[in-house]
């Protein structure tokens, strides 16, 4: 479904070139749940943004269902079926939750169908539907609305940057259900062991490179040994 070939991303810092991503290649299969994990600064979010077209790679190419999309912008990729849940969702003034759901799904939803998306992410829908997506909402609420938009957009390839942050009041099981039962392709950046365990494949990144890639069973010992300090066990409330 998605082939990433030799992606490099460089920035200039203090007059010197710095490699953020160093020759990343990977192949994501249709309906696969892939978790990308690794220490902070290893390039996970940069890779996710390059996949969505938010950042342009310095070199390399991205092929989606046989089409070279390296030069396509965010909009074109979204129209091809990409969805993206940001690590830190942005807020708006004068734009309601319902407005964003309508934009995401490309149609005017009835209140009940809009509520359906919100209920799936653990929000009491009718309380939120007319609220503005502004700074009066908590970080956790914004993260869940971000996921509801992913559902409303119904994209084939969903990229989520640390979706579990701020879900303290929401059942973790619902998040797991979202990734496993939607029958879509998910690329999820996460440090959560429970998410890593259910992934079809785990990608461990380190210093801009893919350190290891494979099924959880194969990478488990490597994860424990190499980056155990970053793995967070989910504790039930």
């Amino acid at each position: 479904m998605l082939e990433v070939k030799n992606i490099c991303y460089e920035i200039v810092e203090d007059g010197k070139k710095k490699k953020i991503l160093d020759n990343i290649s990977l192949d994501i299969k249709d309906k696969e749940l892939v978790i990308i994990t690794g220490p902070n600064g290893s390039g996970k979010s940069t890779l996710a943004k390059i996949l969505m077209g938010i950042l342009s790679p310095t070199s390399g190419s991205i092929i989606y269902n046989g089409q070279d999309i390296t030069k396509l912008d965010i909009t074109k990729r979204a129209q091809l079926g990409f969805s993206f849940a940001f690590q830190q969702p942005t807020t708006f003034k004068g734009i309601s939750v319902k407005d964003l759901i309508d934009l995401a799904s490309g149609k005017k939803n009835s209140v009940s169908s809009a509520c359906n998306y919100l209920s799936k992410v653990g929000l009491c829908a009718r309380e939120y539907i007319d609220r503005d997506v502004d700074s009066k909402l908590s970080g956790g609420e914004l993260k869940r609305i971000e996921l509801a938009l992913l559902l409303a957009k119904n994209g084939d390839l969903n990229i989520c940057d640390e979706p579990e942050a701020g879900i303290d009041l929401w059942s973790f099981d619902a998040l797991v259900k979202l990734f496993t039962e939607e029958n879509k392709t998910f690329i999820v950046i996460s440090h959560q062991k429970r998410l890593i365990e259910i992934a079809n494949r785990v990608i461990i990144m380190r210093r801009g490179k893919i350190d290891m890639i494979g099924e959880y069973k194969k990478v488990a010992s490597h994860l424990e040994n190499q980056i155990c300090d970053r793995l967070e066990d989910y504790q039930d409330e």
Binding site: D73, I74, P89, T90, F92, K93, G94, I95, A104
Partner: protein
Amino acid sequence: MNEIERKLLEEISSLHDVPQAGVYNIRKNGKLLARGVDSEVNIVSKRDKDGIDIIVKKGIKGKSIHIPVIVSEEGYKDKVYNDFYIGDNSEILIVAGCGVHNNSGFITGHNGIHTFHIGDNCKVRYVEKHIGIGKKTSKKVLDPVTVIEIGKNSKLEMETTQIGGVTSSKRVTTAKVGENSNLIIKESLLTENKDKVRTVFNVDLVGENSKVEVISRSVAKDNSHQDFVSNVKGKSKCFGHVECDGILSGRAVIASTPKIIAQNKDAILVHEAAIGKISEAQQQKLMTLGLTKEEAEQTIISGFLK
């Protein structure tokens, strides 16, 4: 009314034509076009100057009053004094506004001086829209003046909108808020090309437990210029909050000058102002939903000015 005048009327008042019933006063090019009154609300022409008195009896609830003004005669500069007398215990909606059309090289415009005398225990919503249409280079000038006096235990919600097409505007609102009363002002402005707007709010919180909230949202595009001035005085135990948010694009300029003067130790006055370009994060989020950059920008601006 011709097609342009009908369009102006609809834009500012949501009326498609002269109403068949209700309370209204439609003014066109300085003359009365149509008027409707009833036993609860009277509208009478002033004798000493051009304008009307709108008199709402005590205890009138659920009433709407429309008083739109149309200026379509090129080169005509209209000036009118409208006084609203709202009786105690009334709950009403007033829809006002002015639409100017000009294709000529002559300045065309309107200067409406609206004075509100709001009694005790009232709830008033005042919606005012200003628009200009016609040639970009033709001067369309709107200088609204609003004077407000609110009695005790009353609330006035004022929504004032000027979305494009007005080349020059000086907007001055002066208010005195009485005991336990609340004034809420929501202003939305959009300027383009070389438009210039100066908007001034002078609010005196005179009554014990009086409140004011001024929320100004503005978008300045191209080479337009906006100047926002707020001047809130807390003269008793009161609360005042002024929020000025601006979005800039092109070579536009927005200036915000807050002034809050607390003249009583129990006065709490707050001012917030933020001016900047359209947020890239907001644009990117909407693009991930499938909108183009331009559609995203338009969506952000429309929401912001809503």
